[in-house]
Symmetry: C2
Subunit: 349 residues, 2 copies
């Protein structure tokens, strides 16, 4: 285990390196008023910390930078959690959640924008999860003889739509009948059970109501696809190009993989959802701790927001390993709380 003094020094190295992105030398630490030791003593301690794996040296005559293990120890034991938010931050958050919400998705989008704006990193907001949401309404609006729009509305207010074409043997009237049938039977069913429920309960119903069984099933399949795609909640990205502001990504070679990975929202959503489903309220992945190869030069911090005891959605920040962990954690905390409150106000009254 580390001595108090070693921990103090480690904390200083991390704080300083996060701020300046320059390897921290013994002199710099020695100057710090919190410590009354000479540079030589610091050097000894730093050598020890390096041997223990918490620090590393880019080259012989440079200062030290935190290793992955160093960051890990920092976030686990050394981080100063309190009073990290400036009044400006608090204001931004307050104004975001303070205004009257009548456009739920806009809030999620804005959360992403503000979170990336305040952190200068990339942010991701996953819309409300589906654990508790049920099917509210299924509708079909005809467009032409062969096309129509299928609409799916869930109890959480999410909407999915898709233009579908009718298979040859099926008329508009029949498909409307089919949709009405589905509506009656499936309303209130949890979203994640729809597919199985629909298939087992309805296939024989359909054979009774519809003349052309085969074709009806094909249409049914289209509709289920729409419902399924609703089950995957929406992904909002903020400040993807903030990545380029970070000195570690000034080299395009480094930045391209991450930017490209971020380009596909579904991938990003999948990754974050997995993080969020671990059960912890806050999850921190530092560098190589990330499973995704493209993110091994990054740190990812995720927080879940919820209503009551149900995990409900995920928000996260993606930035360089050299990240201001304390600040990001505080912001995520405040924002997830804000989202939780907002959804609570919206659905439980």
């Amino acid at each position: 285990m580390l001595t108090d003094r070693q921990m103090l020094i480690l904390r200083m190295v991390v704080d300083d390196y996060v701020r300046s992105m320059e390897p921290v030398g013994s002199r710099t630490i020695a100057k710090h008023p919190e410590l009354t030791l000479s540079a030589a003593t610091i050097r000894n301690e730093m050598a020890d910390l390096e041997e223990l794996g918490y620090l590393e040296q880019p080259h012989t005559s440079a200062g030290r930078i935190p290793s992955q293990l160093g960051y890990r120890f920092y976030v686990d034991h050394l981080i100063k959690m309190h009073s990290k938010l400036s009044p400006t931050d608090v204001d931004s958050i307050k104004s975001l959640f303070g205004e009257r919400v009548n456009e739920v998705e806009r809030v999620a989008q804005q959360t992403a924008v503000i979170l990336s704006g305040l952190t200068q990193y990339t942010s991701v907001v996953l819309g409300p999860q589906v654990y508790e949401t049920t099917l509210r309404s299924l509708q079909i609006v005809p467009l032409s003889d062969h096309t129509a729009v299928v609409l799916v509305v869930t109890s959480s207010g999410q909407v999915q739509n898709r233009t579908v074409t009718f298979p040859e043997g099926i008329s508009l009237r029949e498909s409307q009948r089919l949709v009405k049938l589905l509506n009656d039977r499936l309303q209130g069913t949890p979203m994640y059970r729809i597919r199985s429920r629909m298939m087992e309960e309805l296939s024989r119903e359909i054979s009774r109501h519809m003349e052309d069984y085969e074709e009806a099933l094909r249409l049914l399949d289209q509709i289920v696809t729409v419902i399924d795609s609703e089950a995957t909640e929406k992904v909002f990205l903020g400040g993807a190009t903030n990545m380029l502001l970070q000195p570690e990504f000034r080299d395009v070679q480094k930045a391209t993989p991450v930017l490209t990975w971020l380009e596909h929202k579904d991938r990003v959503g999948d990754a974050l959802r997995e993080e969020g489903s671990s059960g912890d309220k806050l999850k921190i992945r530092i560098g190589g701790e990330n499973d995704i190869a493209m993110l091994q030069g990054c740190s990812v911090i995720t927080a879940t927001y919820q209503v009551g005891d149900n995990p409900f959605g995920v928000i996260g920040v993606i930035g360089p390993t050299r990240m201001d962990y304390g600040r990001v954690i505080a912001l995520l905390d405040a924002m997830s709380q804000g989202l939780s409150d907002m959804y609570a106000r919206l659905y439980k009254t």
Copy 2:
């Protein structure tokens, strides 16, 4: 006016520079079999072309590169339009439009993906325009006592939805009545006239039907906002990070503004829509010809796709000024044709 030989040389310089991104010297051109002249003669011609403003020299002892004017002359007079597409390209496009379409938006998204994949530039696809689209259906699905989802479906199959909260004085029943009223009156109205139509025709109707006039208007305003946001068609981006593949954007300083600009789809959509509305089927903006400051280091090529004689949507490619114009134009041509055909098949039968 340029002589034939000057034009030939200009074309060669552009072709060569587009391929290699290296200033083209007189020797390189002289080697070309299509020309039997010595390097010295080429040098004279190149000096003339530079004087005329078609070429420029990065520095005294370097080869020439095309100026903005040079590119302009190239695309106006020198470009080889035909047989630019390889069989692979044609296959990709065929397979995109060949498959049975039952998810219209997916096709637009895929168009963007394939277009950026084939060009290695960034692509933008604007969904069908609204000139001819009318309101098909307006629906409201209640979620709780105070919230509901408003759905707008247009004749072109576009759907917009928004969760709205009811103002204090208005009940669910009343809002349903309001929506039904709107539905009856506005169905078939062109989208761009909805706002004015609604306001002038309905405000007095509402005062008769609804108890609380003020509050009803507020709800109405929310609904109109939903409809308005539908009038702005959807924007699909492909390969935004392809920008980083281009050597001219290897420097993060150069890339960041463009990437950041691309991040806001509505901005991108606005810009492209303006291009598309000029009336020309194909529009090419080279470097400084772009109005948007962030794009002055880029070239933007847009093409409209249509059904019958109605302009319907826009697709475009954004890349460095040093762009393979011939290929991009051919691809845009093929893709806009494909989209036109697809929408024709979908709506006019």
